[in-house]
Assembly symmetry: C2
Homo-oligomer: 355 residues x 2
Amino acid sequence: MQDSDPPVVETRVPGAAFGGAPTIRDVARIANVSIGTASKALNAGGRLSQETREKVLRVAREIGYRPNDLAQSLHRAKSRTIGIISNDSFGRFTFPIVEALENRLAEEGIAVFMCNATDDPARERQHLDQLLGKRIDGLVVTARRADKRPPIGPLAHGLPVVYVFSQADDPAALSLLPDDVGGAVLAVGHLSALGRKRIAHITGPEHFEAVRLRRQGYRSALSRAGLAEVDGFYRPGVWSEAWGREVAAELFARREKPDAIFCGNDQIARGAADALREMGVAVPGDVAIVGFDNWDVMALATRPPLTSIDMNLKALGREAGDSLLEMIAGRKLSGVERRPCSLVVRASSVGGGGG
Amino acid sequence: MQDSDPPVVETRVPGAAFGGAPTIRDVARIANVSIGTASKALNAGGRLSQETREKVLRVAREIGYRPNDLAQSLHRAKSRTIGIISNDSFGRFTFPIVEALENRLAEEGIAVFMCNATDDPARERQHLDQLLGKRIDGLVVTARRADKRPPIGPLAHGLPVVYVFSQADDPAALSLLPDDVGGAVLAVGHLSALGRKRIAHITGPEHFEAVRLRRQGYRSALSRAGLAEVDGFYRPGVWSEAWGREVAAELFARREKPDAIFCGNDQIARGAADALREMGVAVPGDVAIVGFDNWDVMALATRPPLTSIDMNLKALGREAGDSLLEMIAGRKLSGVERRPCSLVVRASSVGGGGG
C-alpha cells in the first residue's frame, strides 16, 4: 500500500501547504465556491444545486478534508462562548451579520454574548474586560464606521478576533468586508450594458471609505465601457433621500442630462426616483437608477422598485463565524478580505412601465 | 435610641408592605417616575432634571431603599449571564430593546447571550437547552408577533423569564408591552385638539393584536372628542406604503373626504402623504397625518416629516432589564404591563408649509 500511494500524497499537498490539515476554507477556495456554500454542502444543509454539492464533496475528498477536524480542534474552545462587540446602534447593517454568525456558531454549540459599545471606547473596554472574565474563546467586532478602527487592545492578546463590516488598523487582524469597488462595478456595468452612456453617481460623504471605494468602482467601470465621466456627474454629499432629490433636480436642470444614476445607497436612489417622477422624467425610460444596500424597505417601496447592490451581509456573518471557528481551532488568519456583492435587478433599471 | 425610632419604622412600612426590602420599583412608583428614571437618578447617570433626581433620592431615603439591596440579592445570579431569545429577524423593533436591556444588565456586570430563533419552535428549544446548559440566571423573550405566543416550556421551570414586546399566553408570566390603545388615543386626541373632525384610520392586518388595540384607542378618542366614526374611514389592510397610497387615493375620491388620517405605522403614513401630495391635497393644510412607530428613516424622509407615536422601545428594554434583575433577586413578578407611548409632533400635523 505504501509503495503505491503517491496520488494520495499528491492530493494532500494542498493541505500541507496551508501549514496544517485542510480546512473548509481550502475546500471552498479549490471548489471555487464561498465558504458558506462549502459549509452548506458539507453539512447537507441549505439550498444548493446537486452539481455544486457534489463538486464540494469531491474537492473535500480529494484534499483529505475531514469534517470532524474542526469539531476535534474545538476542544480548544473551553467556554464554548464568544463575544460580539457591535458599535452600530442603528442595527440595520449589523443585525443580519450578527444573526447569521449566531446561527453558524449555534451549529457548533457555541453561544454568543452580545455587547453594544456604540462607539464609546471606555464602554468597549468595559465590555471587553467582562467578556475576558468570562473566558470567551473568541471575539467578533462589527460596526458601521466611516473608516478603519483601532484594533482591540492588548488585553485581548492571543484571543482570536474577527472584524466583520469593520476594518482594524492592524495588518495582523482579519477583517471581512463587502467588496465596495466590485459592487460599484456591477452597478455601473449593468447600466452600461443597458446602453446607458451618461451615468451620474450621487453618493454619501467622502470620509466614508465605502464612498471612496464605490467611486473607484464607478470610474473603473466607466472606463471599461469606454465612457467618459461627465464633469459634475460625481456628487458626494449625505446619505439621505433629500440629497438624492436635490441632486437629481439639479442634474436635470442642466443641458446635458444623465441617462442613468448610480446611487451610493437606496435612500439616495429613492430620493432621486421621487424627484424625477415629480419632474415628469420617466424611470427607467429616460433615466435608469441603481441603488446600493438592497434594503427591502426602501427598494421595494420606491416607484418603480429599485435595482440595487446587495452586500450579502448574511453570507459575511456566516463566514465570520467560520473564520472565528478556524481561529479558535488554532489557525492564524489575517488580512483584509473583500467578499462579492450581488446585483438585484428590479424595475428602476429594466422595467417596462414604472415611473 | 430604640425608644425613639418610630419615625424610622414608619418610613420602612412601605418596604415591609411589599413583602421585603424596598426595591427600585417601589422608589419609582412612589416618586411617580419610570423605573428607568429612578435607576438613572440612583446611579447618578443619564440626563435628568435636578428636581427629578432629588425627588427620587428623597423617596429612596424615605422608604429605606438601599442601592446595594439589588447587588446583594444578586448573589443568586450564579453565572452572571442571561439569555435573550428573539424571533424578530428584521430587527427594527427588537434592536433598540435589546440594546437598552444589554446596557442595563452591563451596569450590574451581567452579560447577555443572544439567540435568534426566527419563529422556529425547534430552533427555540435548541437555544433554550443550550442556554440552560450554560446555567443562565434569567431569560428575556422578545419578538415582533401578531399575537400572544406560547410560554417558554417546562424546561425553564423556575427560571426568571420576562417577555418584552411579546406576550406569553400564561397568566403567571410577566409581559412588558407598549400601550397601543394609549398611543392611538394620543394620536387621535392630538388631531381632534387641532380641530379635525373627520379622522380616518388606515392600518395593518387585523390578526395583529396591535391593530385591534389601536383601533380601540381610535374609537375611544373619537368618542371622547364627540366625533363620529365615518363609515368606511377605518381601513385595515397591510403594513405598507402601497396600502397607504391606495387607501388615501380612494378616500379622496369620495364625496365626504377626511380632514385627518391616523395611520397604523409610519410606512402607511408615508404612502398616504405621497399619494396626497401627488393629488394636490395639502398636508397638513387640508389633511393632517399622524403615523405610528416614530421610525426616523420613514418619519424624517416623508414630505412633510411625520408626526408619529413613539413606543419608547429603549425604555421598555431597560425596564425589562430592571424587572429581570428583580426576579433574579427573588421577587415574583407577573402580569401584562403596558407602558405609555409618546407623541412626537412634526410638520405633517401642525406644519406651516409642508405638502
